[in-house]
């Protein structure tokens, strides 16, 4: 019984705080080994979309393919950067670049191969999309269903 009480008290305290999130001060590499610091990147670009995916995640591939189809139009209309962060670990990380090229995706691709960023942002399931405006997370969405990219488009247009 005591265990349940502790659990619910912890739950209550955690929902009480609602400070806005920033991206953590972490360095991630791309497939060529070039390093990007996430916090600096969100300071240098006012609107950043961050999408967590993996080569073995079906809905993630569908999401990135769906956005790819409208990517050029969105880039013409809106000012934003798109980072697709692969949570593939060393078992499947080698598949990232061939798959990105095979699908012709034009996003910035970063590797989170020990899933440290995924843990820091409390991402439980992928795909998970964040929209970061002026360094603060304004939108967080778990999962992908056909048509979800329209909601993302709305968030980007409202805040541009």
């Amino acid at each position: 019984m005591k265990k349940y009480i502790i659990y619910f008290i912890a739950l209550f305290f955690s929902t009480y705080s609602f400070a806005q999130k920033e991206l953590p001060n972490m360095d991630l590499k791309d497939t060529k080994g070039k390093v990007t610091n996430l916090k600096e990147f969100t300071e240098d670009h006012s609107m950043v979309v961050v999408s967590f995916w993996a080569t073995w995640c079906g809905p993630c591939i569908k999401e990135l393919d769906a956005i790819h189809e409208v990517y050029e139009e969105w880039q013409d209309e809106l000012d934003f950067e798109f980072i697709a962060i692969s949570t593939d670990d060393s078992r499947t990380a080698r598949r990232v670049q061939p798959m990105v090229n095979g699908h012709e995706w034009e996003y910035n691709i970063l590797l989170d191969s020990n899933q440290n960023l995924k843990q820091a942002l409390n991402v439980n399931n992928i795909p998970h999309v964040f929209v970061v405006k002026d360094g603060k997370v304004i939108y967080s969405h778990q999962g992908y269903k056909p048509g979800d990219e329209e909601e993302l488009y709305d968030i980007l247009t409202e805040n541009n």
Binding site: A10, S14, A19, S90, R94, R95, N114, P146
Partner: protein
């Protein structure tokens, strides 16, 4: 338990005080998985046979709950994770988790060059062959190290990491002390900053120190307190080409077979990994070759002899996953390969000391407008993975009657050939085509052909040849509605034989999804086992929150996610999952 509660309460109290001020960042996440196990008239009554020593305990409702809180202020970050297994953990988790409290905590200070952590941390050296600490809740893995870690980047081209601590083992820590050192050196950055190619060198060391007092040193004169592991790797990249090579060596340690220490069998281990590929717009190819011999590495020597640890992936220091394609569908997840890093000598013909094999991946996109591409382009993916035993001499010299009796004076030994292939463990060929026919209709067609040796992969007997065909179609109905259907069939000549499966998923709105699925083992020779593994569920997603519920019968067997496997017993009941982050 009480001490942990006070730490947690203090932490939470101070967090909420700071919550409203500027530049204080608080975030966190919650994940809850509840299961209500019911008695199944076909599969049998619910029986908690996964708690050795506590037979008869009958909690039908179980849950695993994880609450994670993180606080950041400038260069400082602190975090705490509580795990609550109420009233007991879900069926397929270690009985050692039957508790609740603080599972990990840390304090971190990070500047441009220095990153220092006290408490629990996660890290990986190279591809993980000698060290990886990570968390995967679905597999029940959390082998973070509790101690101290320092990471130093004196310049862009150099990075050094050192750590010391003990691995997390449920709510406690392992018996062995762990210490490690890693360096990443960008040779091209050091020699020529403007180079178009890049060449990186990595060197690592990991040691595990644990007393050998409980061993008979007359039988094991070569056994040391410390087991050392080293790895060296080179990574090369030039425009569309890339290649890398990694070699790892682990010093002598006592071998465990069938959960028993084999006195007198003190062996070292080694592994190498070679990878290369080429990738350009519309096309990518990647090839990997790996050999491993006696590369199981535990933070506590007795972990593989303890069924409450070994069966639940606990106390593992490194990451040596099966290098095969992660399959997505119900029927393609029945015959899944498990990596074979360890030693097992049963008879001189039926023995293994590791594995050798390769994997090839190919991705190609037929352009829009071309004859095979159609209006939207067609994407294909091809994969082949093939794994073998290490050939060599495996010997058993027995004086007594019973080889498996540890008091018997049996001497085991092995000596492997470096490149030769032994018995075949597994081969899989997969072919996938993704094609969009119109704005509304997109399809995926998959074919997988598998050879699976139950004798070597599962330590049972027999070999299976299986073929699976899957067709999937998604149709958009507009206004956020869509419907997805899968039809699958598996042909196999042995073991469970034929299966048919199907899934129907309806996205009612951007927030709600309902689905129903079934896997039917109609071909099983045993009529009583010709079962339907049906499942139906509803999911609700809003922003970062997802609530899902489903009921049905879960197939027992190996559930493999990300190359790491866990045995899941057959069960029937209701499941509720809640995840959110803030």
């Amino acid at each position: 338990m009480k001490k942990q509660l006070y730490i947690a309460a203090l932490f939470l109290g101070s967090l909420t005080t700071f919550a409203q001020e500027k530049n204080h960042n608080i975030s966190g996440g919650l994940e809850s998985n509840f299961q209500w196990y019911t008695n199944d008239k076909n599969a049998g009554d619910f029986d908690d046979n996964f708690s050795p020593g506590e037979a008869g305990i009958d909690d039908h409702v179980r849950s695993n709950n994880y609450l994670n809180l993180r606080y950041n202020y400038g260069k400082f970050t602190a975090g705490i994770q509580g795990e609550f297994y109420l009233p007991r953990p879900l069926l397929n988790y270690s009985p050692y988790l039957d508790d609740s409290g603080v599972s990990t905590f840390f304090v971190n200070y990070k500047t441009d060059k220095l990153d220092i952590t006290g408490g629990n941390f996660y890290d990986q050296f190279g591809s993980g062959i000698i060290f990886r600490s990570w968390e995967n809740r679905q597999l029940g893995i959390n082998n973070s190290v509790r101690g101290a870690r320092v990471n130093y980047k004196p310049m862009d081209a150099l990075e050094f990491t050192a750590f010391y601590g003990r691995q997390k083992e449920a709510f406690g820590v392992s018996d062995g002390d762990m210490f490690g050192f890693n360096s990443e050196i960008s040779l091209t950055d050091l020699l020529n900053k403007d180079s178009e190619s890049s060449l990186n060198l990595g060197l690592s060391y990991v040691g595990r120190s644990e007393s050998t007092d409980s061993f008979d040193m007359d039988l094991n004169p070569d056994l040391d307190d410390i087991t050392h592991a080293v790895s060296a790797r080179l990574d090369y990249n030039k425009s569309n080409f890339y290649g890398s090579f990694e070699y790892a060596f682990k010093s002598k340690d006592i071998v465990v077979m069938n959960q028993n220490f084999i006195n007198g069998l003190i062996k070292d281990g080694n592994a190498f990994l070679l990878n290369m590929g080429y990738s350009q717009k519309g096309f990518g190819v990647d090839w990997t070759l790996r050999r491993m011999e006696n590369m199981s590495f535990y933070s506590e020597r007795s972990a593989p002899t303890n069924v409450n640890l070994a069966d639940f992936n606990m106390d593992i220091v490194n990451y040596i996953p099966a290098l095969t394609k992660q399959q997505d569908y119900l029927l393609t997840n029945i015959y899944v390969y498990q990596a074979q890093p360890g030693v097992s000598i049963i008879t001189e013909e039926r023995s293994k000391a590791g594995e050798i094999g390769h994997q090839l991946d190919l991705f190609y996109k037929f352009k829009k407008g071309s004859s095979l591409g159609g209006k939207y382009g067609t994407k294909i993916a091809f994969n082949v993975a093939s794994w073998y035993n290490l050939s060599g001499d495996y010997s058993i010299q027995s004086e007594g009657e019973d080889i498996l009796d540890p008091s018997d004076d049996t001497v085991f030994d092995y000596d492997t050939d470096f490149f030769d292939l032994g018995d075949r463990y597994f081969t899989e060929v997969s072919f996938e085509v993704r094609k969009k026919f119109s704005k509304k209709l997109s399809t995926i067609f998959t074919y997988v052909d598998t050879f699976y040796s139950k004798e070597f992969v599962e330590d049972t007997s027999g070999e299976v040849n299986a073929d699976v065909v899957v067709g999937e179609a998604t149709y958009k109905l507009g206004k956020g509605k869509s419907i997805r259907m899968e039809l699958q069939h598996l042909w196999a000549n042995k073991d469970l034989k034929n299966w048919a499966a199907g899934t129907l998923e309806y996205n009612i709105s951007p927030r709600f999804t309902v689905y129903v699925s079934d896997m039917y083992n109609y071909g099983n020779d045993d009529e009583a086992r010709q079962l339907h593994y049906y499942n139906a569920g509803v999911n609700y997603t809003k922003g970062a929150t997802r609530i899902g519920t489903n009921f049905g019968r879960q197939r027992g067997g190996l559930i493999c996610v990300g190359g790491v496997c866990r045995f899941v017993p057959e069960s029937n009941g209701l499941t509720v999952n809640i995840t959110t982050s803030f």
